[in-house]
Amino acid sequence: MEGCVAPVTDDVFVEGTRHAPRVAETSEGAQEMAPRPETDDAELRREVGAVLRMAEGPVVNANDIDIERRDDETMIINMGPQHPSTHGVLRLMLELDGETVLRTKPVIGYLHTGMEKTAEELTYVQGATNVTRMDYLSPLTNELVFSMATEALLDVEVPPRAVWIRMLMSELQRVSSHLMWMATNGMDLGSTSMMIYGFREREMVLTFFEKTTGLRMNHNYIRPGGVAADLPDGWEDDVEVICETVLARSFEYDELLTGQPIFRQRTEGIGNLSAEEALALSATGPILRSTGVPWDLRRTMPYLAYDELDFDIIVGTYGDNFDRYSIRLNEIRESIKMIRQIAARMPPGDYRIQDRKVTPPPRARIDESMEALIHHFKIFTEGFKVPEGEVYVAIESPRGELGCYLVSDGSSKPYRMHIRGPSFVNLQTVPVLLRGGLIADAVAIISSVDPVMGEVDR
C-alpha cells in the first residue's frame, strides 16, 4: 500500500490531515479501504481523479476533496462479486453518503485463472485454445492478437485471404459483442425486451461462427499463420442475411431505447468522463471515444487491411452513458458496413501460410511424402520454434485496445505472454464515473463500461 501511494508534490493538500496509510489485516490483505480520516491526501486525490499521468490541476479540484467528512457519516456498501449486475464476478466497495457514491474501490481477482502463466506451458500451436478464453464475449479478437504477435515474432506474412477472413470474423465478433452489450445494458436499465432482442440477433452471428469454426465460442479458429479452415460453403449469403437483419433490427432498438424519455433520463448526463480523465486513465475503446477522442486502432494504427476499408470512427461529446450507448449502437452499423465491403472484396487463394515449418501440410500430402509426414508430426508434437525476441501487438477489440506482449526465448513455447486487457484498464474509470452519482446509477455505469471479468482477471 505504501509503495503505491503517489508522492505529494503539491503543497495545497499538505495542511492538516496527513496520515500514514494503514493496511487493514484482513483475509484480503491490503484490499481494504482505509478509514477516511486516515486516508492521506495523496491517496484520496488518486481516488478522486486521474492524476497518475498528467498534471493534477486540470483534473482535481482541491475543494472537491472532502477530507473533513467523518467515518460515521458515510457507509461502505459491498456490491458483488455475486451481484447480477456487476457483469461477472466484479466486487465494488462503495462509500456512500446517503444515496451518493463518494469513493469506489473495484476489487478483482475472483475469476483469476492464470492464463498468462498457462500460455508459457503451451506451444504456439496450442496457444490459441488458451487465449481465446479471456474475453469470452469476443474470443476471436483474443486469438487474433495472439496470432498476430506470434507472426510478428516469426516475421511471416499472412496470405491476403486469411487477412480478410480475419477482418470479417473480427467485425462479426464486434457486432455480436456489442449486441450482447446492448442486451445486458438494456436489462440493467429495466428493458427486458432489449435483452431478448439482443440475444436473438447475436444468435445469428453465433450460428455463423458455429458453421465456420465448429464452436459457438472459444473457437481456436484464428491461429498463427492464418485461419484453421476456409469459410464454409454459402458464406456470402449467410453474411448478407446477418447484415441485413441486424441492420434493420438496429433501427428497432432506436425505437425501443434511443428515443425513449425514460431511457434517456437514465443515461444522459450519468457517469460523465472528460477527455483528459479518460486519457490519463488509459481508457480505450468506446469509453475513450465517448469523450470525443477519435482513437480507434483500426484507423490510427491500421492492422490487417483496415486501411483499405471505408468506415467512420464514432465519437461522442459528453462522455456520459448515453454517448457510450450510441457509440456501440452505431459501431454495430459501421461494422456491418465494413462486413459488406469485406464480403464483396474477399480475395481468393490460400488462407494459411504454406510454410511447412509453421503450418502442417495438407492431409493428402501425408500419405505421399515422408517429409510432409515428418513436418506433420513435428508441428503437432513439438510445435514450431519462434526466433528469440519480444514484441507488442495491439488491435481494437470491441472493448478497446487489446494488446499482446510476447517474449520468445527461441523455443516452441512463449517465454512470457502478457495481455493488455481493455476491460482491466477501463475498469479504472469506474471510481471516477461513479463519484458523486447516485447508487441507483451505479449499475448503469458499470454496464456502460462493459467489463468482461474473464479478461480483467485472466
Binding site: 476456409d230 460453403d233 437483419t245 503437432f380
Partner: protein
C-alpha cells in the same frame, strides 16, 4: 402547433410499446429446447469417435499424436504391436488403450487435425452428462464405432436424428491446411458404414450441400429473419398453421416413440420374468423350493 409537438414528445414512449406489440405477430424465435433442436452444421465439434476402415480394421495406429497435441491433456493412448495372427489395425501397431477424459476435453479438435489416419474424428453429439467421474472417462470400448460404423449410443447421451450422420466434418474442413489447391478434394480414407465422405467445396466451386450436410443460415434461423425474408407460406396466419402442423407432427412422432418404448419395455420385462423364472428352477432357488416344498402350495406341480 407547439402544444401538439409537446404532446408528441410526451407520447414518444409509445413507439417502444408499438415495437413490443408488433412482436406478437412475428414468428416465435424460441425453440422448445430438449424436444426441438437447432439443426447441426457438419463442422460442429462434439463427442469423439474412433473410426474403422471399411473392412472393419481399426484406423488408430497408436502413434499418440492426438495425446501429444491436446492442450488440455485429456487423451491417454498406449500403442501395442499388432498380433500377427489377428491384426487389429492395418499398420504395425494399434491403439491398445485409448481414453478421453471429458471432464478435461475442451473440444478444440486439435486431435482430429493431428491424427494422420483420420482415426479420431468427432460426432455432432454434445449433450452428454455423467453422474460420476469414472463415466466421464471414455475408453476405447465406448469410443470405437460399432460393426455398422455407427457411434455407440450410450445411455447418458442424448442422440438425435442425424447426429451421427455428419461425423468428421472438422477433419474434412481443415484437411487442405490452408492451401486453396487442395480444397474440394478427397484427402481421407473410407469409413466403415459411410464409405468415402464428400469434401466441402470451398473455393474449388464444387459444392454439394446435400452430401456434406452444410445448411444455410436462412434455413437454420428462419424465424430470426426479417419479415420479407421469411417465405410467404411461413408468415402470418398461414405460418401459424404451418408451424402448428409441424409441431402436431412432432408430437405425434414423440407419442409413437414413447408408445414403442413402453411396448418394448413391457416386452423385455415379460421376457425377464420368464427367464428369471426359468433360472429359478435350475439355480439355488430350486434348493429353497425343495426345502420348503412340503409347506408350499405348488408341490403338486
Amino acid at each position: 402547433m407547439g402544444f401538439l409537438d409537446g404532446v408528441k414528445d410526451e407520447l414518444s414512449f409509445l413507439g417502444g410499446f408499438k415495437l413490443t406489440f408488433e412482436h406478437l405477430t412475428r414468428p416465435r424465435v424460441t425453440r422448445q429446447y430438449p424436444e426441438e433442436k437447432k439443426p447441426k452444421q457438419p463442422r460442429q465439434h462434439g463427442r469423439h469417435v474412433l473410426n474403422r476402415y471399411e473392412d472393419g480394421m481399426e484406423k488408430c495406429i497408436g502413434c499418440e499424436l492426438c495425446a501429444g497435441v491436446c492442450p488440455a491433456d485429456c487423451i491417454y493412448v498406449r500403442g501395442l504391436d499388432n498380433p500377427p495372427d489377428h491384426p487389429v489395425s492395418p499398420g504395425e501397431r494399434y491403439g491398445y488403450v485409448y481414453e478421453i477424459n471429458y471432464l478435461r476435453c475442451i473440444h478444440c479438435d486439435l486431435c482430429v487435425e493431428a491424427c494422420p489416419t483420420e482415426a479420431i474424428t468427432e460426432s455432432k453429439l454434445f449433450e452428454f452428462s455423467f453422474t460420476n467421474r469414472a463415466d466421464a472417462i471414455y475408453t476405447k470400448a465406448e469410443l470405437l464405432v460399432d460393426d455398422a460404423g455407427k457411434p455407440q449410443k450410450l445411455p447418458w447421451e442424448d442422440w438425435r436424428d442425424a447426429d451421427e450422420l455428419h461425423t468428421s466434418g472438422w477433419m474434412r474442413a481443415t484437411s487442405p491446411s490452408g492451401s486453396a489447391a487442395y480444397e474440394g478434394e478427397v484427402q481421407w480414407s473410407a469409413e466403415l458404414g459411410y464409405g468415402v465422405r464428400p469434401p466441402e467445396g470451398g473455393q474449388s466451386g464444387r459444392r454439394d450441400d446435400a452430401a456434406t450436410g452444410t445448411k444455410a443460415l436462412r434455413d437454420v434461423l428462419e424465424t430470426h429473419l426479417l419479415d420479407e425474408d421469411i417465405p410467404l407460406d411461413h408468415r402470418g396466419m398461414r405460418g401459424r398453421i404451418w408451424r402448428g402442423k409441424l409441431s402436431a407432427e412432432r408430437h405425434k412422432k414423440q407419442l409413437e416413440a414413447a408408445r414403442q418404448r413402453h411396448k418394448e419395455a413391457k416386452a423385455t420385462r415379460a421376457a425377464d420374468k420368464t427367464t428369471t423364472r426359468g433360472a429359478d428352477k435350475t439355480s439355488e432357488d430350486a434348493v429353497d423350493e425343495a426345502s420348503t416344498a412340503p409347506a408350499g402350495p405348488e408341490v403338486d406341480s
